[in-house]
Amino acid sequence: MNFLSLYVLIPLLMLGALWACRNTRQIRGVMAAGSSALLILSIALVFLYIAGRRAGNTDSMLFTADTVWYAPLNIHYSTGVDGISVAMLLLSSVIVFTGTFASWKMSYQTKEYFLWYSLLSMGVFGFFISTDLFAMFMFYEIALIPMYLLIGIWGSGRKEYSAMKLTLMLMGGSAFLLSGILGIYFGSGATTMNILEIAGLHNIPFDQQCIWFPVTFIGFGVLGALFPFHTWSPDGHASAPTAVSMLHAGVLMKLGGYGCFRIAMYLMPEAAGQLSWIFLILTGISVIYGAFSACVQTDLKYINAYSSVSHCGLVLFALLMMNATAATGAVLQMLSHGLMTALFFALIGMIYGRTHTRDIRELGGLMKIMPFLSVCYVIAGLANLGLPGLSGFVAEMTIFTGSFQHADPFHRTLTIIAAASIVITAVYILRLVGKILYGDPVNPQHLKLTDATWEERLSVICLITAVAGLGLAPWWISRMIGESVLPVISQMIP
């Protein structure tokens, strides 16, 4: 165990402290302190990591530590980070931090809400720091189940249905995933569960890979909104409370992409090469299909959820292109999509909290009523459609450039189709912005509403800063990720 375990310990401490809390003020104090601590830890980690690389450390993972857990089954609690996980940890802590402030005013069963919230974040962090198949899977599932209660209790709309559907579909995915993990473990000779060691062994027979790769990929793909397993996402996001949507779309869906890359593709590169075309078609469909679906939705959250389907499809799409540039783009896209979709959901939550409707037909002229939120919404929209200077551009361009390095017509066509999504994205984003922000207020009741409060501003500004920071100065993070995808990519290119 090393300092990376703080990522699990801090949420654990938060759980304990929340348990002891007596009133809302204490709860808020604990959450603010805990999430800030996580954010500071992540920022420190970024610096430590970069310093470690500067110092010439060329291991594929830094800060590795290993504690034997279940010796007979080769299950260890082993941790380590590379550029990708550092980026994901940063993303997660930013979103946990902002999500805390976005749900600052939570009044119904506050303590329970934050308990589950902290448990969820523990799962997320644990997943990203782990390098052991079992531990990863465990943290993955820890992150899934609080979702049921968070949506079911604190959600809105058809919350029970959505929560159940989301949980069951994701658990269905994890059924695939578990099979895949077992397949990998036994396929590689059942000597270790450590990803790095399995990758080092590189001994899973090809015919077994051809079974376990699709299984694992679908397992993670369900969470990564792979067509046609994405249908939990619109309902789930629509019903979830603000911070949960943020965390779910912002971080949890990234678990899917990260897992596909780190487990499915890293450990079974030959099968990935052989079978990528199937999933490329599916993800290609996701990209376009999500974007088109978003065009005609009338619920703000549904629009964003379909947009997430499209963008997360792009993540998997890029990963399957299997070259360093596209993979870097995929990670950047995870980062970028995580931040901007969290921003979106935060804003939608804040608007919904005031107007009590998310139907775009009942909204209008919000720019006049709540200028701060509206401007931020426009910024989020622009980030979503890939405006240079914001994060979306960086990620998408890296993906398209990377994808275009394949010269065959199949990959080319798919790349062009995927690139077409940026136009459709523009269509639905502008439709939305034009409809709800511009124009005159449609509902006179809305004129009384107020603009954002300080904690909402804090949360939103924090996210915008991250989106713009990534968009304006992408080189360092792109390099950091680019170095880290190489070990994985080099496995795939014989």
């Binding site: 299950i75 079992f134 465990m138 820890i142 209660l149 209790i153 029970e160 099979s179």
Partner: protein, 473 residues
């Protein structure tokens, strides 16, 4: 004769001593002393656990009639802990007017079944095995029919005893065929003579059916739900955990020891039975309103998962199986503990009655949630680990598709477990169950179970100590 052999059966002897002392206490204690019945029983159980924990070594006793291995002692100990927890939970129920005068019978009958299980597990001969099995099941019928003024209890008792007799008739018939084709009933000698002839196949099928009845595998499970529903809740808990666990372990030892030459046959059988059990039980559980009935189907599907540990016939499978039984015991007894205390205090047992429970009785609701999550296999609770390990064991033996089907079924099971969670946390209710205080014994049992649910998985020492016991045949 070497009398030191009796030292190796000290578990059974001490258990008999416990039974005898409780009988005597029941007989002799005055009215004022009777209120100490429960503490006494629990203390004696603790003593029994202590005796079980004394280190021993593997031994073949009494000419191979009785086998003793550390693994078996561990299993017995797990069952004993389960019994202790059941005793703790029985407090409120046994204080009831119609049961208070016969609480001695409850302890003695329960311990008699436990004794039967001890023998069944340690049997080295089909005769001892059969006697253990019957000792375990005959008093169980009395326990099921314990609430004799309650119509449902009597009906459940009748169903249990009649189907049990029917199944033991068939099991015995199978045993007689085995005896006829081999000429011996000693486990040691049997494998050499088992050839897989049609007669032996038929014998195996009948024997297996009889055991499957105890474990309640589909299609031999039909009594389960009715009996679980009708029996007093404590007995149901005991039946679903201790009785089932012992039967699975005993079946595994017999399959490995006796039917080793027929391994492909019984793997085939279990393969289909597991699929049928998990799927059908899950489908049934989906629509249950009565919580005891619901838990009955849940326990049937859990039995299917238990069989995943058996199917490989490997050391990993056995370790995973014992571990699974332990974890399952903690979770299921926690669930039954909550349900029984609520039933005793409010008389409500339907899912709909649990709506809004979290508002009135948050602690109980929380414990039940943990228990259900553990049963569903959600980390970080122990159920996740036990499920993972048992899947791993089955997977290792090459049953990939079976594991996958079982995994898909966990999704269905998650659905119905979540229905209960949903009822407690989400569903609105005008008249939720009123807040109440639980008695101290129940609280202790629930704390024990909750501790188990949380700790058994994360603390790897427990699994490793079971693993260290080895194959344990």
């Amino acid at each position: 004769m070497d009398y030191s052999q009796f030292l190796h059966i000290r578990s059974e002897i001490s258990l008999i001593a416990v039974i005898m002392s409780l009988l005597l206490f029941d007989l002799l204690a005055g009215a004022r002393m009777r209120k100490y019945f429960q503490p006494l029983a629990c203390l004696l159980m603790l003593l029994q656990i202590g005796i079980n924990l004394t280190p021993g070594r593997s031994a073949y006793l009494f000419g191979g009639m009785y086998v003793h291995t550390p693994m078996m002692t561990a299993v017995k100990n797990i069952l004993t802990v389960g019994t202790l927890i059941t005793f703790l939970q029985a407090n409120t129920w046994l204080k009831r007017e119609d049961t208070v005068f016969k609480q001695g019978e409850f302890y003695v009958l329960t311990l008699s079944t436990l004794l039967g299980m001890y023998f069944m597990i340690s049997a080295g001969n089909f005769m001892l095995f059969f006697i253990g099995l019957e000792t375990a099941s005959v008093p169980m019928a009395c326990l099921v029919a314990f609430d004799k003024y309650r119509h449902h209890s009597a009906e459940a008792g009748a169903k249990y005893i009649l189907t049990a007799m029917f199944s033991s008739g068939l099991l015995l018939y199978g045993l007689s065929l085995i005896y006829g084709s081999t000429g011996t009933l000693y486990f040691e000698d049997l494998p050499d003579k088992i050839t897989g002839s049609p007669l032996q196949i038929m014998a195996f099928a009948f024997f297996f059916a009889g055991m499957a009845f105890k474990i309640s595998l589909v299609p031999f499970h039909l009594w389960t739900a009715d009996v679980y529903q009708g029996a007093p809740t404590q007995v149901t808990g005991y039946l679903s955990v201790v009785s089932k666990g012992s039967a699975v372990f005993a079946l595994m030892t017999v399959l490995i020891k006796v039917f080793a030459p027929m391994i492909s046959q019984w793997q085939h059988t279990i393969y289909w039975i597991v699929i049928a059990t998990i799927t059908i039980a899950n489908l049934f559980a989906l629509r249950q309103q009565n919580l005891k009935r619901f838990l009955a189907f849940s326990s049937i599907s859990q039995a299917g998962y238990l069989m995943l540990g058996v199917i490989g016939g490997s050391a990993a499978g056995m370790t995973a199986l014992v571990y699974y039984v332990l974890v399952y015991m903690a979770a299921n007894l926690a669930a039954f503990g909550v349900i029984s205390i609520i039933e005793q205090k409010s008389g409500k047992i339907e899912t709909a009655d649990y709506n809004g429970l979290y508002r009135t009785n948050p602690r109980l609701a929380f414990i039940l949630t943990l228990a259900l999550f553990s049963l569903a296999g959600i980390p970080p609770f122990a159920g996740f680990f036990s499920k993972f390990f048992i899947f791993m064991a089955a997977f290792q033996s090459g049953f990939h598709v079976l594991v996958f089907i079982a995994l898909i079924n966990t999704v269905i099971s998650l659905y119905y477990y979540l229905l209960i969670v949903k009822a407690m946390y989400i569903n609105p209710n005008e008249t939720p169950i009123a807040p109440f205080k639980s008695d101290g014994y129940t609280l202790i049992s629930l704390v024990l179970c909750t501790g188990g649910i949380v700790a058994i998985g994360i603390v790897s020492a427990i699994y490793q100590s079971i693993h260290a016991l080895g194959y344990g045949l």
